[in-house]
Symmetry: C2
Subunit: 399 residues, 2 copies
C-alpha cells in the first residue's frame, strides 16, 4: 500500500470540528447538545435570494467567467461603493467561498517559504491554507485583558524580516469579535507602507457591528490602495454559508491579474450562487436591522451571563457573532470534551470550540473557549446554565 | 507599491483562454467566432436536475458537511456501484468541482518537491494545480501517430525515482479523446503495484465513450484498491459545468482521512448543487443515449472533415468530446491567433486551443490544435470550411 505521508503539508485538526465524534456520541446517548462551536447562523436567508434560486431561467448550467459574471461584479461593486470603497467591477474576483478568496490571495501575494503576520487568536483555517501553500504564518499574541485589541505596532516590527510579504487581519474578528478602530487600522496602514507589505483584510462579518460603531475598512484609508486585498463572502451577510460564494477585491491590477490565473485554473465560481447573490444585493435594510438587533440581544445575554459565572471573564465584543471567554479550567480541550462525554444537566450539554486551536503559540488559549451566539436566546440561556453547572462539577476546575 | 513577485508558483497561461482577447477583438470587429476552444457543451442540463434547483425547500442556505451530505454520498455510491466500482458512501469526498478533487488528491498524496508522472498532452490545469502545491510534474510524451495511446511502460519506468508518488491519467482523455483499454490500465496497475504509486484517474468524461466501447476504470482492477483515487465531476455528465460539484473516490481510508482535512479547511461544497446532483442521478438512460448519439455524429463529421483537408491528420478518438489534430503549420499559437486576428471567411472564423499548452516538453504540439466538438453539426461544418480556407491562406503554412 502506498504510504500516505504528507508531512510537508500536514493540516492542523479543525478546532471547531475535532470534538464532533464526542458530540455525536453524546447525541446517541440521548443528550441534547447546544452547538455553540460553529458559525452556522440560524438566521433565515433573505427571501429575495431564495427566490432567485427558484427562478433560474437557464437551460444549460454553464461555466461563468473565471472572475465571475459581469452582471454580478457590476452590482457587487455598487454594494462596495455604497460603503465608500470607491472600486470598479474590474477590481472584484469572484471565488468559491471566502475560503478560496483567502487561498488565492495568499498564493498571489506570497511565495513558498515567505511569511505572513497574523494577530492571534485567528481563524484556524488561515493556518491550513498557508501551510498547504508552503507559506509561513508568524502569529502575534493579542490579549483577552485588552479585549483582544490590535497588538502594539512594535511587536509587528519585531517580526518583520525580508521574508515578510503580508499582514492579515479579520475585522470584525473571528474568533474574538473584536472590531478594529480607525486608529488601529491607520497604524497598520503606516506599517504596511513603511515595509511595503500587503494587507489582507478578511471582512466576512462586516455587517455585524454593534453599539452604533461604524465599520472601517482598510479600503477607506488613503495611500494604501495598492496594498489592500479585501477578502469577502456572502456566507454570513445573507446567512448563505452553503452558497460557497466569496470574492477578493483589490485595486492593485498586477495583483488582480496574478490572482486571476489561479482562478482560471479552477475554471469558474458557482453559477446559481452568483445569480442569487446578485439578487440579494437588493435585500432591504430592514432585514439587516432585524438581524443586528437579534445578534445584539444574544451577545448581551451571553456576555452578561458568562461574566456572572464564578471565575469566568468575557470582554464585550464590538462585532461578528463570537466571543472568546476565559474559564477557570486547566485545559480547554479537556474541558470541552468532558462537557460532551461526562456531563449533562437535565439531559443537555454544550459544545464549544477550545481556543487552543485558534492560537499557534504554545499553551495559549488553554483557559479560553470560543462561543458562537448562533442560537436563539432561549437556547443561549439554557446553554449558560449548562456551562455554569458543568464548571461547578468539572474535575479540572481551577479555584 | 509591494511587488507582485510569485516566481515560486507562477501559473502557466491557460491554453484555452490565452487567446480570448483576440477573440473579443474579432467579435468587436463584427466577425462571428465559432468557439471550438473550450469544453462548454451546448447540451441541455437534464430537466430533473434543473427542477431540483427550482424546488429547493430550505430557509437557511447552510453549510453541508465538509465531505458532502450523507444523502448525496449515499445516492452517488449507488451510481458508482451500478458501474461496478464496489464502493461505500464513506469512500466519497464531495468537492468544489472536479478542479478541487484534483487539487485535494494531489495535496493528500504528494509532498512539496515530490513528483507525479502524467502522459502528455494533458489537461493544462494539472500543471497549475501541481505548481501551486509545489509538486513536480514529469510528463511522458504520447504520439498522434499512435492515436495518443498510453506510452510504453518502459518510458514510465525511466522516470520513476524515489521522489515519484503518483501517476495521473485522464480517461477518456482531455485533450486527445483517447480511451484507455483494459490492457493499458492493467499495465498501469502492475506498474503502480511494483513501485507502490498512487494512480489518480480523472474520469470527467466517463459517460462519453463511443463505438460501443466499454469504459474501464482502475476501480475495476483487482489488487489496486488501495492505490486508486478517482477524480470526478458532474460538469460534463449532466452538462452542469456551473454547478461546481465534483468528488474524489478512494477505498484507501488513510488517504481519504488526509483529504478530508483539506476539505474541512474550506468548510463545505456547494449546497444547492448537491441537491441538484442527487436528483440528477435519476436522469433517464434516454438522455445519455441521445447525448452520445449527438456527440458521435459530431465527432464523425469533425474527424472526417479534418482528414479531408490537405495536410491535416486527426485520429478517431474513442471518447470525450475533443480531438487533437495535426495541421500543416509552423506554430499553433501563431496560427490560432492569426485565425482570430487576420482571417475571416464570410465574416466568420474559428477559435481553437493551440496544443502547445497541453504539453510540457519543449516544441511539442507546435503543429497540433485541440478542437472541442461542443457545437451543433451545422456550426461544425461551417467551422471546418473556415479552417480549410484559413489554412490555404495562412502565411506560415508548411507544404
Amino acid at each position: 500500500m502506498p504510504s500516505v505521508s504528507i508531512k510537508g503539508r500536514e493540516m492542523p485538526a479543525s478546532p471547531i470540528r475535532k470534538l464532533t465524534p464526542y458530540a455525536d456520541k453524546a447525541k446517541r446517548e440521548g443528550k441534547h447538545v447546544y452547538h455553540l462551536n460553529i458559525g452556522q447562523p440560524d438566521i433565515e436567508t433573505p427571501q429575495i435570494m431564495l427566490d432567485a434560486i427558484r427562478n433560474i431561467g437557464f437551460k444549460v448550467w454553464a461555466y461563468t467567467p473565471s472572475e465571475g459574471t459581469a452582471s454580478y461584479r457590476d452590482k457587487l461593486s455598487g454594494y462596495y461603493n455604497k460603503l465608500g470603497y470607491n472600486i470598479l467591477p474590474e477590481d472584484i474576483l469572484v471565488t468559491n467561498g471566502g475560503s478560496e478568496a483567502i487561498t488565492i490571495a495568499m498564493q498571489a501575494c506570497i511565495n513558498p517559504d515567505e511569511e505572513i503576520i497574523i494577530p492571534e487568536p485567528f481563524y484556524a483555517n488561515y493556518n491550513g491554507f498557508a501551510r498547504s501553500a508552503g507559506i509561513v504564518v508568524k502569529p502575534i499574541l493579542s490579549y483577552i485583558d485588552d479585549g483582544f485589541a490590535l497588538p502594539a505596532i512594535s511587536s509587528f516590527e519585531e517580526l518583520i524580516t525580508e521574508k515578510t510579504k503580508a499582514i492579515a487581519i479579520c475585522n470584525p474578528n473571528n474568533p474574538t469579535g473584536y472590531l478594529y478602530s480607525r486608529k488601529e487600522l491607520e497604524a497598520l496602514r503606516d506599517l504596511c507602507l513603511k515595509h511595503d507589505l500587503f494587507l489582507l483584510a478578511d471582512e466576512a462579518y462586516r455587517e455585524f457591528c454593534y453599539d452604533g460603531s461604524a465599520f472601517v475598512s482598510p479600503m477607506h484609508l488613503e495611500g494604501l490602495e495598492q496594498h489592500v486585498v479585501v477578502l469577502d463572502t456572502v456566507s454570513k451577510r445573507y446567512s448563505a454559508c452553503g452558497a460557497r460564494l466569496g470574492c477578493l477585491v483589490t485595486k492593485n491590477s498586477e495583483l488582480w491579474a496574478a490572482a486571476l490565473k489561479f482562478a482560471q485554473a479552477r475554471l469558474s465560481p458557482p453559477a446559481v450562487a452568483q445569480l442569487a447573490a446578485e439578487a440579494a444585493i437588493d435585500t432591504p435594510q430592514s432585514y439587516f436591522d432585524a438581524v443586528k438587533a437579534e445578534y445584539t440581544a444574544r451577545r448581551d445575554i451571553l456576555v452578561a451571563g458568562l461574566n456572572k459565572i464564578d471565575g469566568v471573564y468575557c470582554p464585550i465584543p464590538g462585532g461578528a457573532f463570537y466571543v472568546v471567554a476565559r474559564l477557570p479550567i486547566d485545559d480547554s480541550d479537556r474541558f470541552c470534551q468532558w462537557m460532551l462525554e461526562h456531563f449533562s444537566h437535565e439531559n443537555q450539554t454544550v459544545m464549544m470550540a477550545p481556543a487552543t486551536g485558534f492560537y499557534s503559540s504554545t499553551n495559549a488559549g488553554k483557559d479560553e473557549v470560543r462561543l458562537a451566539y448562533v442560537l436563539n436566546i432561549n437556547d443561549l440561556e439554557k446553554s449558560l446554565i449548562c456551562l455554569e453547572k458543568g464548571l461547578a462539577k468539572y474535575p479540572g476546575k481551577k479555584i
